[in-house]
Amino acid sequence: MQQNTPIDVKSIDKDKVKMFLRVTLYLFVITVFEFAIAFTVPHEYKWVRIFIFVALTIVKAYYIMSEFMHLGHEKGALKMSILFPLLFVAFLLFILLFQADAIFQAVY
């Protein structure tokens, strides 16, 4: 093993690490908040609960994808190639929830 060229180790990018820790804090706080909602908002308000949970989940997903997966700092073409196809997911969700209601009406 000959190691002729010494490796040039750069110093820690403090701003970047700070940003990661801030995102961690956001994810932590949002999850704790979700717990608070789960145990304070009564189950009778089903759609309010679902709406809050889904909204907060999307916020968490945004931070994970944008900062941890670095997608927020990539070129627009890459962002769009990943995000646009996900519209199909919204479409599938939309049609299958209608289907679920139709099954429910037919059976019960």
């Binding site: 180790v9 990018d13 189950h43 949970f53 989940t57 941890f68 070129k75 997911v89 679920a100 019960y108």
Partner: protein, 248 residues
């Protein structure tokens, strides 16, 4: 005028070959497209959960009156209320909350490993990859406990439609609610758990390559970034599984 002309010229060159229009390497781009296809698979599973759940009656009484029954879909916070070493104590969702934090933290240590890799800091990569591995293994252990508790069931059990008392769950029967509830639990958390398992294997692979100096000799730590993308995706999916399976 002239600036417009230059812009068009640049745009043409961007997609005209010879440069990377998205400014990422082939490996990272393919990892992104793999993750996109994987996102479709997980979306299909979770949307199927929604389809089956909303085609069953919901429990509409007060949460304190809830009992397990085959007649309606169970309320998840009553099903998932056990914590290791605290048998019989009602602690709804505490354990899955802990699992969520473990996975988020291992995502953070992964991102720090990537940051160390960008600086060619081999010691930093080794340290943070080790923490990431530990986080993944901790999550898998928690899930193993969660599964065995779900399969074993409660002391009381509950009455099935044929009148017999049944404890725990399998793919066709369960004490918590309609048969599909347990089947979906096994399929969705199992599919995610298998992704975590593969992620731990990949993490170990790049950790090994970092420790033996292979990545350093390559001259860059891009493997850490690619495996890191996969690992963050596993975390991302858990955020959705947590919401749709445990909270909603």
């Amino acid at each position: 005028m002239s600036s417009t002309a230059i812009e068009i010229e640049e745009k043409k060159d961007l997609w005209g070959g010879g440069v990377s229009p998205m400014n990422v390497s082939y490996g990272k781009l393919m990892m992104w497209f793999f993750l996109l296809s994987d996102a479709f698979t997980f979306s299909a599973l979770l949307i199927t959960y929604g389809l089956i759940r909303f085609s069953h009656p919901a429990f509409d009484g007060a949460i304190d009156d809830f009992v397990f029954s085959q007649e309606y879909w169970p309320v998840p916070e009553v099903v998932f209320e056990a914590v290791p070493f605290l048998h019989g104590v009602h602690l709804p969702l505490i354990f899955v909350g802990l699992m969520t934090f473990v996975l988020i933290l291992s995502s953070v240590t992964m991102v720090l490993a990537v940051e160390a890799g960008e600086r060619m800091d081999r010691k930093g990569v080794e340290k943070w990859m080790l923490w990431t591995l530990l986080g993944g293994i901790a999550f898998l252990s928690c899930q193993a406990w969660e599964w065995s508790h779900f399969i074993t069931g409660t002391d009381m059990g509950s009455r099935l439609l044929d009148g017999s008392i049944f404890h725990g769950a399998n793919l066709t029967m369960n004490e918590y609610g309609p048969p599909n509830f347990a089947a979906l639990f096994f399929f969705i958390t199992g599919f995610h758990g298998f992704h975590v398992f593969s992620g731990v294997m990949l993490n170990f692979m790049v950790f090994f390559q970092a420790v033996t100096g292979k990545l350093e000799r390559t001259g860059h730590y891009e493997m850490i970034e690619k495996v890191g993308l996969y690992w963050h995706f596993v975390d991302l999916v858990w955020v959705f599984v947590f919401t749709f399976f445990y909270l909603v």
